[in-house]
Symmetry: C2
Subunit: 185 residues, 2 copies
DNA sequence: TCGTGAATGTACCGATTGGTACAGATTATG
DNA sequence: CATAATCTGTACCAATCGGTACATTCACGA
């Protein structure tokens, strides 16, 4: 596939934040235009498929980031315990210590799940499986590893919801530390 | 306050489902009308404040339901361990074994949080505090009780997100059983 | 300096949004 | 039956939605 204009790449993080803050349907072309400083002409030039293509590009970037920065290290780091610790630290940074919301989680709860269902499931499954792998390599019995991983992935999502519901971002860090204790304890 | 027409009460559960499925902004008057079988005239007669009043009424019903069926029993049941078990069973039933989403959680993640922020926080705080109370009465040290409660409330939200992301409602029941083990173990 | 294609802003499209106005139907009360 | 209050459907409103069309501007190679 032909390389898209460079500007496109720069837009994706902005689009990500807009989708995070407003959700898929809530992210109108008006607010996207305002945040990117671009008119519809430019937006549709970079993303001929409109909003759907924008969201798809954002999802692709997120998938790639998590694969590179979380899943692969969890699977491949020779020190699985260190990898688990590092992955939780990266998670805290990525979600801005609870001030940022998980776009995939938001999508999962909304109507857009029908549109991106496969990729949403893949994002979560990738996380769970990578964590399962690390836990197993750290000595956990396979079944227990998978259970713990499933629990941790869900707990992270829940911590993001709760931190936002309480309007208390610090809750996210507390949750991550509890999760780390459970995983490594 | 004067009692609203009886029809109003019957509408609220329907409105709740619509808001759950579509979110606040996604629940257009068109779909609300279709689901309730009522025209705008009737809807605005029952809820002069429009969508905001509808959502507010739904939230009020949810708050009351949780207070009556979860929070108060957790605080008052002389057998706190039985109360915790019962509250988790009620939770599984309420969320239809993971097929139903938490409206308050959905609101917390969306833009509507600005509109209902206080009540969203109160819903979560009520849950956490009631569970903290039961755990303390069951013999947990106060700090540990509160931590466990916070973790459990977040975990329930996370389990709902994950169950929907994986499109695997059974995950919710699994999570609840793990939570029960942690709380009572 | 010119030409060319990419990049961009703007006007516009039909559809839909939340909300209002109001006339007519329905119901309860005398 | 008559009258009044309560409901309810429909037509309508301005604003906004996602998306298209197109004329203009821009950067850059020949």
């Amino acid at each position: 596939m032909a390389p898209r204009p460079a500007g496109r790449a720069a837009l994706i993080p902005i689009l990500g934040e807009v989708f995070r803050e407003h959700g898929y349907e809530g992210a109108s072309l008006a607010v996207i235009g305002a945040r990117t400083g671009l008119g519809k002409g430019s937006l549709y030039h970079a993303f001929p498929g409109g909003k759907e293509e924008m969201a798809s590009a954002v999802l692709a970037e997120i998938e790639a980031w998590f694969e590179d920065n979380l899943y692969r290290p969890l699977r491949e780091d020779p020190d699985p315990r260190a990898a688990i610790r590092a992955s939780l630290a990266a998670t805290e940074t990525y979600f801005r210590s609870g001030r940022r919301v998980c776009l995939v989680g938001v999508f999962a709860l909304g109507e857009v799940r029908d549109r991106f269902g496969e990729r949403i499931a893949r994002y979560f499954a990738g996380w769970r499986d990578a964590l399962t792998d690390a836990l197993a390599r750290a000595g956990r019995p396979p079944g227990e590893a998978r259970d713990l991983a499933e629990e941790a992935v869900a707990a992270i999502q829940g911590a993001l919801v709760a931190a936002r519901a309480f309007d208390e971002p610090a809750m996210f860090g507390r949750s991550l530390r509890r999760i780390e204790a459970r995983l490594l304890g």
